[in-house]
Symmetry: C2
Subunit: 147 residues, 2 copies
């Protein structure tokens, strides 16, 4: 319970780390001819696991808010990587599906992402992973609503 003092600026460290990670994603995608952004990858990855979901579910899974997901979907539809289909049970809702082209891009991006994950984790081990997740989960829990 120490380090909860004025100099414990963990937010800044997290921020700069996430920035350099995203920068590497962008650069590697470009270098490998994968024409998507990091955040577009997040949605494609989510859809590859669970296809045909409503936008709000996609938003939840990807930790984005509804307007942001709506607009990223617009871009991905424009690129032909996904499609919106009306939900058969709820006329307010659209279900999102990967297209053939989307699956192809996903297949092309996946090894790039795996390479980045390996590269980023070099010199670290399973114990570190447990530490990291435990610490981030604790921070997350501390900041959840109604606290």
């Amino acid at each position: 319970m120490q380090k909860n003092n004025p100099t414990n600026n963990f937010g800044a460290y997290l921020d700069r780390t996430i920035k350099i990670i995203k920068h590497n994603y962008t650069r590697s995608f470009k270098k490998n001819g994968v024409d998507i952004t990091t955040e577009q990858w997040v949605l494609l990855d989510s859809l590859n696991t669970k296809n045909g979901v409503a936008q709000n579910e996609l938003a939840n899974d990807s930790f984005k808010n509804a307007p942001t997901v709506s607009r990223i979907i617009d871009l991905l539809v424009k690129k032909g990587l996904i499609e919106r289909k009306p939900s058969p049970t709820d006329r307010r809702s659209h279900l999102i599906y990967l297209t053939k082209k989307g699956r192809n891009i996903y297949a092309k991006a996946l090894p790039v992402v795996e390479g980045l994950r390996r590269k980023g984790w070099e010199g670290l081990n399973d114990e570190d992973y447990d530490h990291l997740l435990r610490i981030l989960d604790t921070i997350l829990g501390n900041f959840k609503e109604n606290k």
Copy 2:
């Protein structure tokens, strides 16, 4: 050196953590009548430590790029919290200074930020802090240029 496998999605955990942290900053500033954003706070905080610096130095210190800093400075100047003064030694350069109003806002924001740091770090200790910094530094180093 394990966990460098396809499921080691540490980027997503970092991303959602930083999002909830920034959300809490925004909300607390608003609730306490501090009319600045999280990123504006980052610059004010940097200036409080080292006043009268050039924009590129401010960019380096805050891990932002030059255009972003230029525009945040525009907003802070408009709010009267900082001012640009021509550098006496380099006519391309502006030195940035906190104004009296800026120092007042800083003084008002600081206890809010300290509260958030304490809240976020609840349940964690110095050892965790060392773990976190070591892990983030390692990831950062792995992703630095020319690697």
